[in-house]
Structures are given as C-alpha cells and as structure tokens.
Amino acid sequence: MALWVDKYRPKELIGKDGVDFHLEQANHLKFLSGDCMPHLLFCGPSGAGKKTRIKCLLRELYGVGVDKTQLIMKPFTTPSNRKLEIQTVSSNYHVEMTPSDVGIYDRVVVQDLVKEMAQTSQIEASSQKSFKVVVLCEADSLTRDAQHGLRRTMEKYANNCKIILCCESLSRIIEPLQSRCIIINVPAPTDEEMTSVLMKVIQKEKLEMPQNILQKIVEKSEGNLRRAILMTEAIKMENENGISTNAQIPVPEWEIYLQETARLILQKQTSEVLLKVRERLYEVLSRLIPPNIILKVRIVITASLKSKFNFQKLLEHLLPSCPESIVREVVSEAACSEHRLVMGQKAIYHLEKFVSSFMDIYLTNASKPK
C-alpha cells in the first residue's frame, strides 16, 4: 500500500520510467555517472525532485542493489563523552544520512563517521565501483563547523568517497564547499509540467478528475510536486464515489490549527493565552512539523490577519507591505527567533519567546495613542 508519491516516482534518469521534467539536466546527470564522478550539490525548493534524481543517479551507478536499504542506527561519541546515535539509511553501496538530526553535534558526525567511511577503500572492489557514495541530506542545516570539517574530507579522499549534498538553498552552504562540488540546480516544475505529471498519475490510477480541480491543486501546491500528488491522493480518499467540480481540496490540518492559534494570539495578549498557545505549540511540534515552518506560517498569518489580507499565501518569506509600523519589529523578532532555533536544542523555548515578544509589541502598539 504505497503512497502515490512513491509508487510513481521515476526510477531512472532517462527512458520509459524516467524523470518527467528538466530532461536536459537528466541527460547531463547521466554523463556524470562514470568513474570520474565529482562531488555533487543538489539544490532546489522542496518537492522539485532532488532526492528522486539522486536515487536515479545512484541506480545508474550501482544498479538495482541500491534499492535494498536498511535503517541502521549508528552510534558515536561526542567530545563530552555523551553517546548518541544517528539514523542512517544504507544499502550495500551507499550510505545516506542527515547530520542535522543530531543538532549541534553534526560536526562530530561529519568528522568521525564520514571521515571513517572516506578513509577506507572499498571492501569488494570488483563488484562495486572504485568509490563509495555518501549522501548528506538537509545540508543547509549543517552548522558552520560541520561544513568546514567536511571540506577537508571532501578534498583529501575525493578518489575514494564521493559526497552528494542535498539542500534547499545555496545561501547557507559556505563558499569553499560550493566550489568543491558541481552544483545541480533543480528548479520547481512549471504549472504545465506539474499538470502533465498529475495527468499521468491520474490516468494510471484510472481516476476521473474534473479540470478545475486539477487546476486548483496545481495552484495550491505552489511548485511542490510532492504536495500536489499527496493532495490528489487525499482528494481521492475523501471522495470515494467521484470527484465533483465543487470538491474541496483538503488543507493540512496543522495549517488550520496554526491559523486558529494565530487568531488566539491576536485576540487577547495575556499570560493565560500564552499558556494555551504553549500547549497548542506542543501539539504541533509533537506531530513533527518543523519549528521553522511553524514560525514562518505564523508570522505570515498574524501579519495578514492584522492587515486583513487574503491569507491564501502561506509560507511566504516576504510579508505583504503593510502600513503598520510594528511589522518591522515583528519580523526582526521572528528572524532572531529563527536564528536561535537553529543554534539551540529545544524549539519550544524560541517559539514561545517569539509569541510573547509579539504579544508585547502588539500590546504596546495598541496602547499607544493613535
């Protein structure tokens, strides 16, 4: 019972089961997968197809064996003698991990684990390629120290271990790392490309879908193909009998929950509300919604609710320009909290700090004589 996202994920770069858009790039990737493969840096927005392309590339290199993966917890020791574990997905040919899972200890992960893998040559040189591949996901959440630790490893053991980095924005990757890799930009698909992919999926699933619903899905997903396919599957689940032209597109529940939370904050700014908000934040956090997305969603909602804008545009960085003077302070508070979110360990402290400072700003502004 696989999700459509996984069922219809392309399995090769070019060909019958190949990727549907950015075909020229796929051709280039196929050239790269030889013995002289360089370090790679895939960047692009969420849902554009970076991981899919990395998997296809690995399949080109090593064959179908890369699909047989196991989830292994690898232990390591921090300098303060604390034993931690990081989850890795590995097949016989490659290892994939997310160093930012362990927060501030990712430097140790990079220096110990990745270096250990890079230093030893292949176990079975005849049946495998002459190099190993390590895939590091969410590379832009790596701390500066970890990134600096990585560059030496990448340089020294380049013949033996190829590193593939996957990130959403290049700005958080330091310049020396960028220069050691070939940067592969995977932009978000255009609306037409998304529509054609969705049509393919719908056809294979023998589903009937009116055109306007398809358009609405494409609009709502904002260039995120993964979200579009998930929404399509969700609609199909909700309307078993058939999708009428007035079908509602399900909005993720947590977004609605956050909207209500934002409304609560705007209504009253007291410590009881703060406590209630803390509970609601815990609810959202326990469902593994990343804290920085919560922050972004919240600033946009609070700003747009205040200025009575149409809050369809969630998750946008730029707040709509607003005559309110406090927007600037709110944004600078949010930026400060987001920065601390990355540096610190517990997200709830920083989220609550943002909420309470927002309440403070709002109250002082409201009580100022107009």
Binding site: N92, E116, T120, I123, N159
Partner: protein, 229 residues
C-alpha cells in the same frame, strides 16, 4: 548455513559458513533466506545451558518465526523458544576467491594480544610482510610499538607455530578498532589465518571444525600521502 553482513560504515564484512558436517542432523529442503535480529537470537540462546543440544527449525508455511529447541539430556527437559524473523532485504555480495600474496597462520591468542597492545598506541595498524617475517607496527602520539614474528623453525607444537607463505612483500594499513572486534572470535579456534595483498581487503579467518569458517574482511586505510595527487 552461511551468513554475510557488512557493517554500517561499509568498512568491514563478516562471512560465516557452517558446513553440513558440523551438525548432527541437517535437513534443508531448499535454499531460503532467514532474517534474524542478532540481539533477539542471543536472547534466545541465553535460555540454553552449556550442555544442551540445540535444534533450529523453520517451517515455511507456518508463520514467520524460527524455533530454537534446547534439549537437556540429563534431566529430560526441553525448551522451545520462538523468535520472530526480520525482513532483511539486502544483496549478497559475491566475494571472489583471490590469490593472496601473503598467507600467515598463527595462534589466535597471539594475534589478539598483539592487536590489543598496539591499539594502546595508535588507531591504525600497519602490517608489513616479507619472507623474513611479519611485522605489526602501531605508531602514535605517545610512542610506537613494533611486533615481529618470524616463521617458527621448531615444529614441536603444531598449534603454536607461525607459518608464513609469501609470494611478494606486502605493506598495508588498517583501522585497529575493527581488528579488535574481529579478535573477539578467538574463542572459536586455536589458529587464525591472515591473508594479505596490497590494496586489497585483508581476510582474517577463524576455521571452524573441518570446513566451516568465520571470515572477516577489512578494507585497507588510504594513506594520506598517496592520495594527494
């Protein structure tokens, strides 16, 4: 019965083979893959006493678990432990039989002690083998240690002898952490066989009875100077 697994860093590979002759009775209708969690299996095996006989049973149609039966002959007691299987989806890497330049056999206890001594000085072990003998070196910040074995001239005690077959001299580096893990198998046999060749993983083999073995493959470390091209 054979088992093959790679460690999580892809540095070492373990290969275990238990020949049919090792078992009192052995029946296998067809080749099957059984996936077991080693932690669970050791829990099951702890239920047994030292003198018990152990029987492994697996029925294909009857569910997905393996039955260990421990029988105590003296007390007429039997214990059945059922362990659920895991779905392990991994490929079996075919390791070709290779001709190694150096094959050295020595007492397992000696090898274990050497590795333990050298691990106090350095985290990498250098093995140099020539016709004259085999040299284990560990160099570190606090000092270094060099252990040399020459092939035994007196063959009074077969199990204590060090034999060395050298086709060409070999010099390789390994991570000593993994060697120490391998030497935990010293209890299995008196002798250990090391097969070395330049730039090729070393094979540390502990023979089990006649034809069975427990083999560890460890990939060599890349030298810093060699790679600076």
């Amino acid at each position: 019965m054979s088992l093959q697994a790679m460690d999580s860093s892809h540095v070492a590979l373990v290969s275990l083979k238990l020949e049919v002759g090792l078992f009192d009775t052995y029946r296998c209708d067809r080749t099957i893959n059984l996936g077991l969690s080693l932690a669970n299996m050791s829990k099951a095996l702890k239920c047994a006493n030292n003198d018990d006989t152990c029987m492994l049973k697996y029925e294909e149609n009857e569910g997905d678990s393996i039955i260990f039966t421990f029988a105590d002959p003296k007390r007429d007691k039997t214990q059945d432990v059922t362990v659920k299987m895991m779905d392990i989806d991994s490929e079996h890497l075919g390791i070709p039989e290779q001709d190694y330049a150096v094959v050295c056999e020595m007492p397992a206890g000696e090898f274990q002690k050497t590795c333990k001594d050298l691990s106090t000085f350095s985290d990498s072990l250098n093995i140099t083998a020539t016709k004259a003998g085999i040299v284990f070196t560990g160099k570190g910040d606090i000092g270094s240690s060099v252990v040399t074995y020459s092939p035994s001239s007196n063959t009074d005690d077969e199990s204590e002898a060090v034999t060395l077959e050298v086709k060409e001299p070999v010099n390789v580096n390994f991570s000593i952490k993994y060697m120490n893990q391998f030497t935990k198998a010293t209890a299995l046999s008196d002798r250990v066989r090391l097969s070395l060749c330049n730039d090729v993983p070393v094979v540390v083999e502990y023979p089990i009875e006649e034809n069975g073995f427990l083999r560890f493959y460890l990939a060599p470390k890349i030298d810093d100077e060699e790679n600076m091209e």
